[in-house]
Amino acid sequence: MREPDLSAPFKGALLIATASVILASCATTPPPCVSPQTRNLNHAVEDVKSNLRGGGCAAHFDRYYDDLLTIAEGDPKAENKRTFSEFLVWTSDAGLLSQRQARDYYNRYFNVKFTSMQGDYNNCSHTCPRRDRVMLNMERELSDKERGLLKVSLDNDAYYRADELYQEIDLVLEATCTACNAVR
């Protein structure tokens, strides 16, 4: 004859208690990887850092970066450049981004130079065959620079120079590629 299981009521109670704890924690813990709720850039950066620290939100980096840019647009000033630079250096040090990625994120928005103009081969063989795509990428990058340099950092001179550089590159590439393609 089988003896009655005396621990059964305890097991049931434990199950109920665990379920209650889980449900309670769901009610109080904020949903993971939320966007920063503050309008203050420095506080927002700290929020984002704390979300990224665990590693679980790393996949949301692009969204966070965009959130930070939007917050900075609300309070544009020259110092914002430094805030973004320091934030990106931190992401690189924390191993969330490689150094090259961090550099690209920064330069795409806050530098006059175009990251889309990178290439190790000469213009005749590499740039000219894909000139349209290069110019399209540069155009997109110019609009990111408008955001970073003009709307976030109020660096009008740098944005104007980037715009001028875009036009110069367009002209010089047109001439260079015409010369490269000329078979006379």
Binding site: A78, E79, K81, R82, S85, L88, V89, A102, R103, Y106, N107, F110, N111, V112, K113, F114, T115, M117, Q118, G119, D120, Y121, N122, N123, C124, H126, T127, C128, V134, L150, L154, D155, N156, D157, A158, Y159, Y160, R161, E164, L165, E168, I169, L171, V172, L173, E174, A175, T176, C177, T178, A179, C180, A182, R184
Partner: protein, 287 residues
């Protein structure tokens, strides 16, 4: 590239053993002088060689050929304008059967043929010099900007030393059609001839600008030459009937605008938005 030839005058050349030390000292002085001159030349000369003397000479030649063509055409175009005005003032438009109007139309047609004749005579020279300039520039651009540079180095060249600094006023002149052809080439020549004072960044833009302009001019001249034979034949036929075709007026108008520029005001280039004068922040992440 500059080549320095140095020859000591015979009378000061040291000769024989007693002067051996003088000779060595003299030679080393010359060598050090040459080295320092070379070093000076290196620091001063642009690192990209887009305008060797041949290109500069081609530009000067093109400017003078264009000037000759304009001078030849100026008188005949002036005459055409006067005759056309007289034709209009005499209310000949719509009165083609009038004998006086027919005479005026024939005179106009003859002047038009003169213009075509002058163009036919001068255009080959123009075409030749424009093509020479275009081809020599094409070679330099392909070598210096196309084969020796990557997209990144090209960007750095265009930016110059300080990317944050707004560049000097651009020498770009494309699209400014309201300028005489010879004047345009003269400006090109002057810009290029003083190129030692220009930076690589503006030289690359200038070379590209001139080259693309030459491409367009070259095509335009080739098309015009093709048309001249046809237009001459048509006008010779018209001479028999004494009519003025709208095409004739259109061609004269086109030639005038190409050679002497049109009335449109020069293109306005927007200035930079008001910038901040604070010291720019430089990130360690910047390229």
């Amino acid at each position: 590239m500059h080549v320095f030839r140095t020859r000591l005058p015979a009378r000061i050349l040291p000769a024989g053993h007693p002067f051996a030390l003088n000779r060595i000292a003299g030679l080393s002085f010359i060598i050090s002088l040459l080295v320092s001159v070379q070093a000076f030349a290196n620091t001063d000369s642009p690192t990209i060689r887009l305008f060797p003397t041949t290109v500069v000479e081609d530009l000067r030649q093109t400017s003078s050929v264009a000037k000759e063509m304009e001078t030849g055409l100026q008188e005949v175009i002036g005459r055409l304008d006067q005759q056309q005005q007289l034709y209009m003032e005499s209310k000949c438009d719509g009165a083609e059967d009038d004998p006086g109007c027919q005479r005026l139309a024939k005179q106009l047609g003859a002047t038009y043929l003169d213009m075509l004749g002058i163009m036919e005579e001068r255009l080959p020279d123009m075409e030749h010099t424009v093509n020479n300039t275009r081809l020599s520039l094409e070679k330099r651009i392909r070598s210096e900007l196309g084969n020796k540079m990557t997209s990144w180095t090209l960007q750095e060249t265009l930016l110059g030393g300080n990317p944050q600094e707004t560049s000097a006023p651009s020498p770009t002149m494309r699209g400014r059609s309201g300028m005489r052809l010879s004047e345009r080439f003269k400006q090109y020549y002057q810009l290029v001839a003083s190129s030692s004072s220009q930076t690589d960044q503006s030289l690359a833009v200038l070379a590209s600008d001139i080259y693309l302009d030459m491409e367009e001019t070259s095509e335009l001249i080739a098309r015009t030459r093709e048309e001249i034979a046809r237009a001459t034949l048509v006008e010779q036929l018209n001479q028999s009937f004494g009519t003025i075709t709208p095409e004739m007026m259109e061609i004269v108008g086109g030639v005038k605008s190409i050679l002497f520029g049109d009335e449109t005001s020069p293109m306005q280039i927007a200035g930079p938005p008001p910038g901040s004068f604070e010291q720019a922040y430089r990130s360690p992440l910047e390229n």
